[in-house]
């Protein structure tokens, strides 16, 4: 394993191009199959963190689930330019439900 890892952003052009200025690797991709392939490729290529917009993540749900229990990469959902769908928060609630047995965050 290399010492230095990279961070990537996946999503539609409008939502992710701003991240290029921060020095993140930006991938503009909207087709479900290509997104899945891209995630798999990034995972083996020293990417530790992948930020992905919620619509793009919804298109590649299975691939993202696959990496949920592995240590790297950490895949984080971010809202796209069209607005927040709440998928990111939902994943959080799912984790709570898995651990506790019921979703206690809603209280």
């Amino acid at each position: 394993m290399a010492d230095n890892y990279k961070a990537a952003v996946i999503g539609d052009t409008a939502s992710v191009s701003g991240f290029a200025a921060l020095g993140l690797s930006v991938f503009c991709e909207t087709e479900p199959e290509k997104i899945s392939k891209l995630i798999n490729r990034l995972a083996v290529n020293d990417f530790a963190v992948i930020y992905i917009t919620e619509p793009a993540a919804a298109a590649a749900g299975d691939t993202i689930k696959k990496y949920r229990s592995s240590k790297l990469p950490s895949i984080v959902l971010i809202p796209a330019i069209e607005g927040n769908t709440g998928d990111g928060m939902r994943a959080l609630h799912e984790a709570v439900e898995k651990a506790v047995g019921s979703d206690i965050l809603n209280k």
Partner: protein, 216 residues
């Protein structure tokens, strides 16, 4: 509860007693592990939720700037402006052990020392809103790194808690009661055997005495 399929012998009895002992000890340890994991998990989840809300809010604000920038500038100009970043981020990945769950720790390393050195374009031909968008994103970026860390930690810990909980339940509701019942069964069987030996011995003794001394 099912009794285990073993021969009712002393050897099996002492083996089972040892097993029951270690099952009880394991159960106690796992229960402690589960409780501590749960405590840490709840702290992390709380942080995760707050971070996520903040990050989502900031990205929304940045996107708003970006939308305005996109409408006043040509798409090509916008892309050219962002095409060659000055800044580059690399992540150093460490590891933290929380109750034998290994969670990653990210520390970002920037190519340039000045974290404000983020504008990869001259300001003459770009909209001020683009500056706003880039600035907003760069401000929230440390939080995004922390969010990636915390989110991963939450996922890994949720997995581990689920596993530990299953083990605790299996020990508590299946293995320990099974052992207890089998031990009880063997103990009963052995004492039953002993009683039957005693009675038959007494019977034999009676018969022998009768034969040799002509007792009535």
């Amino acid at each position: 509860m099912a009794r285990l399929n073993v021969n009712p012998t002393r050897m099996e009895l002492s083996k089972l007693k040892k097993k029951l002992d270690s099952a009880r000890r394991g159960h106690k340890l796992l229960k402690d592990k589960r409780d501590e994991l749960m405590r840490q998990f709840m702290n992390l989840i709380r942080e995760n939720r707050q971070l996520r809300a903040e990050v989502e809010e900031a990205i929304k604000a940045a996107d708003r700037y970006m939308a305005v920038a996109g409408s006043v500038m040509q798409r090509e100009a916008l892309e050219t402006a962002l095409m060659l970043p000055k800044q580059e981020v690399e992540l150093e990945v460490g590891e933290k052990n929380v109750m034998s769950v290994y969670i990653p720790v990210f520390s970002p390393k920037y190519r340039t020392d000045d974290t404000n050195d983020i504008y990869s374009y001259g300001t003459a031909f770009t909209s001020i809103d683009l500056d706003g968008a880039v600035k907003a994103l760069s401000e929230v970026f440390p939080k995004m790194i922390r969010l990636a860390e915390v989110e991963k930690a939450c996922q890994l810990m949720a997995d581990e808690i689920e596993k530990t909980r299953r083990r605790v339940n299996a020990l508590e509701h299946i293995m320990i009661p099974d052992y207890e019942e089998t031990i009880k069964y063997i103990t009963m069987k052995l004492s039953e055997n002993e009683r039957s030996t005693t009675t038959s011995l007494m019977k034999v003794k009676d018969m022998v005495l009768k034969d040799s001394h002509h007792y009535h």
